[in-house]
């Protein structure tokens, strides 16, 4: 494996060829136990409950949803930080669902993760140099010119001063720390980066700097991203395709244009209408969702969104809607709903979308 990032000329056409990552029917149930000494299982948290998703090379897929919808768990399953309960994860055609430590080792260097909190994801006792160099050391990679030179190159790539090699994380601001996290993820020239809320802990202007950095890296190095976030406008800006999760399931997935301009699932519609825009003339119709997300311990029967849905009917409680392409939808726009919104209904007013 080459250690130098190879520059690719342009963004390859998304959706072509074989997927880099393909997930089918992925499930993760966390057991809930009771009793002293002799634990018995009394239930399970259905954190991820049957997710199908594909990520193509050099593509960024956004995963959005409210807290507790299972988006972070999905990310952790993909990186195999958690053991899946059921389903299949394939990376570049190879089944890694239950791959052992030895089998995973070469793949781990190709799938890297950027964490949400830049404060707790960097070891305060290690210098920046050893934090970014650690993945190379662990994988026994000796880059040409030495680890230090490679680390300094990476620091420069992410917009930090290479002379700060010997500094400790506490000497950096939040945005700079997140850049260190990005440099660490890049150190093994990964093909897929799982970014779990990489910018939500940062201030707006710093957030924009990091989003720009990630976008540049994605374009120049051709890295595929699974971008997990709750901020719909950031996801729209960064990801070519977006999947909306609700209570452990994907309810709608489409390319960003189709999803943001003609959402078909009521939940997507409600989410989009709830995003506040910095525009006093913003007169979009607002949908007030009542109540909270139901407990994943005991998810509602049928369609999981029915308890908060204003269109729910008897059918919704009985039959679970499949994730399919509805008539009037663009290619690859899948929706799981019995009574979808009109295709013309737009989450974002058309005249503003044209700007």
């Amino acid at each position: 494996m080459s250690n130098e990032p190879t520059l690719k000329p342009a963004v390859p056409t998304v959706g072509s060829g074989d997927p880099l990552l393909s997930i089918t029917g992925l499930k993760k149930h966390f057991p809930v136990t009771d009793g002293f000494l002799f634990k018995r299982q009394v239930g399970a948290v259905h954190a991820v409950d049957g997710v199908d998703l594909e990520v193509f090379p050099s593509e960024s897929v956004g995963l959005v949803g409210e807290s507790g919808c299972g988006k972070s768990t999905t990310g952790r399953l993909v990186t195999r930080l958690l053991e899946p309960t059921a389903g299949e994860i394939r990376y570049a055609g190879q089944d890694i669902t239950h791959a052992g430590r030895k089998e995973l080792a070469p793949i781990r260097s190709e799938i890297q993760m950027i964490f949400q909190d830049p404060y707790s994801s960097l070891n305060p006792r290690h210098t920046v140099g050893s934090i970014i160099g650690a993945p190379m050391e662990i994988n026994g990679i000796k880059p040409a010119g030495g680890v230090q030179r490679r680390v300094q190159e990476l620091l420069e790539t992410v917009g930090l001063n290479p002379e700060h090699y010997n500094r400790f994380p506490h000497e950096f601001s939040g945005g700079q720390r997140q850049r260190i996290g990005v440099a660490r993820a890049l150190s093994l020239s990964p093909k897929l980066i799982v970014a779990d809320e990489p910018v939500s802990a940062l201030d707006v202007s710093i957030q924009a700097q990091v989003v720009n950095l990630l976008q540049e890296l994605q374009r120049e190095l051709g890295i595929a991203f699974l971008f997990i976030a709750h901020d719909l406008s950031v996801v729209r800006h960064f990801s070519q395709r977006v999947a909306v999760m609700y209570l452990g399931k994907i309810v709608e997935i489409a390319d960003r244009k189709s999803l943001y301009e003609s959402p078909r699932h009521p939940y997507t519609h409600a989410l989009l209408s709830a995003v506040p825009e910095a525009d006093p003339d913003d007169d979009r119709e607002r949908i007030r969702l009542t109540g909270d997300v139901p407990s994943p311990l005991n998810p509602p029967s049928g369609c999981r969104f029915r308890t908060r849905c204003w269109k729910a009917q008897d059918k919704c409680a009985v039959e679970e809607p499949p994730l399919v392409q509805l008539s009037g939808n663009a290619e690859g726009h899948l929706t799981a709903c019995h009574f979808p919104e009109e295709a013309a209904v737009s989450g974002v007013p058309a005249q503003r979308a044209e700007v």
Binding site: E66, S67, S173, G174, G175, Q176, D203, V204, S205, I206, Q207, A208, Q209, V211, N212, Q215, E216, H230, L232, S233, V234, R236, H237, R256, Y260, A270, L271, L272, A274, V275, P276, E277, A278, D279, P280, D281, D282, D283, R286, R288, L289, T290, D292, G347, V348, Q351, R352, A353, V355
Partner: protein, 355 residues
């Protein structure tokens, strides 16, 4: 575009005597590294029943200002000068006993993280009732009834049984509702909400903002809304004050500041935010660099090291002279650029980017 005239659009900042009037407020902390000038000659007014949004990044002095209003700073380590008048009563230099009478009754606070702001050892009802009993001398029974009444008002289902729950039994959105109930229990005339929705999901955020607005209309409370999200302000407030490095850099009505911003920092904030409709292939234009240290502020305009328009100032006073917030009333900005220059730059360079 159909501009549905929002009833609260009437500039509430003008006319009438302000309920809260802050003049030349400075807050300084002595630390081992030097004196931190957290707030520096800040002046603003809040009219009865209106909402002022204070916007800025972390460390811009938003929260420090409002803790000073509530008198919550440790007097041994804090130096506060200037004047804070609440309903005609001077708060700077007021004794703790006087402040205690006001806190919770005339002014109250909604904190960002309800899980840390609520005590885990006491029931929700007891915590809401405590404030009520302290200020009205009511009995336990009356306080409990009042707590139930408040919980009903903020939309907690089954308030008569939930009143005896502990905070951990509530979801995030419900905890924030309980916090709001607690802050409004004595019908205060001023509520300071410090990032009330930052920890919440968008759909819950929309619920909470609607609730605050409804309660404000019902009870005529003035609200200071501290946030870093311009979208939240656009949806809730009538007036905005943008803060940078402990000073106000721009002030005006929501429409003025968001539609025709005058200060380069406000421009930077607006172009840092990806929108739901903007162009996706252009990189964001964040403010470059990082916020300054409050111990060692840049001379002149504190924003000058990050400003892109410094060269265009005739006479080049940016590094030597601190620009005042002018004009004294109405839409004002603290910048050395002439109003005509600002107007041109905004229309030619900034507005096209915002989409």
């Amino acid at each position: 575009m159909t501009t549905q005239a929002k009833p609260e659009e009437v500039s509430a900042g003008s006319g009438g005597t302000p309920f809260l009037s802050v003049r030349d407020l400075s807050v300084r902390f002595s630390t081992e590294d030097g004196v931190v000038r957290a707030v520096d000659s800040l002046s603003f007014d809040v009219a009865p029943g209106s909402t002022l949004g204070i916007v800025g990044e972390s460390g811009s002095g938003k929260s420090v200002t409002n803790l000073a209003v509530l008198g919550l700073h440790n007097p041994d380590r804090t130096e506060i000068s200037g004047s804070i008048k609440l309903d005609g009563q001077e708060l700077v230099g007021a004794s703790n006993r006087e402040l205690e009478k006001l806190r919770g009754r005339k002014m109250s606070m909604i904190f960002q993280d309800p899980l840390t702001a609520l005590s885990p050892f006491h029931t929700i009802g007891k915590q809401i009732g405590e404030t009520f009993r302290k200020h009205t001398g009511a009995s336990k029974k009356e306080a409990r009834d009042r707590a139930i009444e408040m919980l009903t008002k903020v939309g907690i289902p089954q308030p008569t049984s939930r009143v005896d729950d502990y905070p951990h039994q509530f979801s995030g959105g419900m905890r924030q509702r309980a916090m709001i109930a607690m802050s409004l229990v004595c019908d205060p005339k001023l509520v300071i909400a410090d990032e009330p929705t930052t920890a919440l999901d968008v759909t819950v955020q929309a619920q909470i903002l609607d609730l605050l607005k409804d309660l404000q209309q019902e009870m005529g409370t003035a609200i200071i809304l501290i946030t870093h999200d311009l979208g939240v302000v656009a949806r809730t407030a009538q007036d905005i004050m943008v803060m940078y490095a402990g000073r106000a850099v721009e002030r005006g009505t929501v429409r003025e500041v968001l539609k025709a911003p005058q200060h380069p920092y406000t421009w930077g904030l607006l172009s840092s935010m990806p929108s739901l409709t903007g162009d996706v292939d252009v990189p964001l234009r964040p403010v470059r660099g990082t916020p300054p240290s409050l111990i060692n502020l840049p001379s002149g305009c504190p924003f000058n090291p990050r400003c892109d328009f410094r060269e265009q100032v005739v006479g080049g006073g940016c590094t030597t002279e601190r620009p005042p917030l002018s004009p004294a009333t109405g839409h004002a900005a603290a910048c050395h650029l002439t109003p005509a220059q600002r107007q041109d730059i905004f229309i030619d360079q900034i507005k096209p980017r915002l989409g």
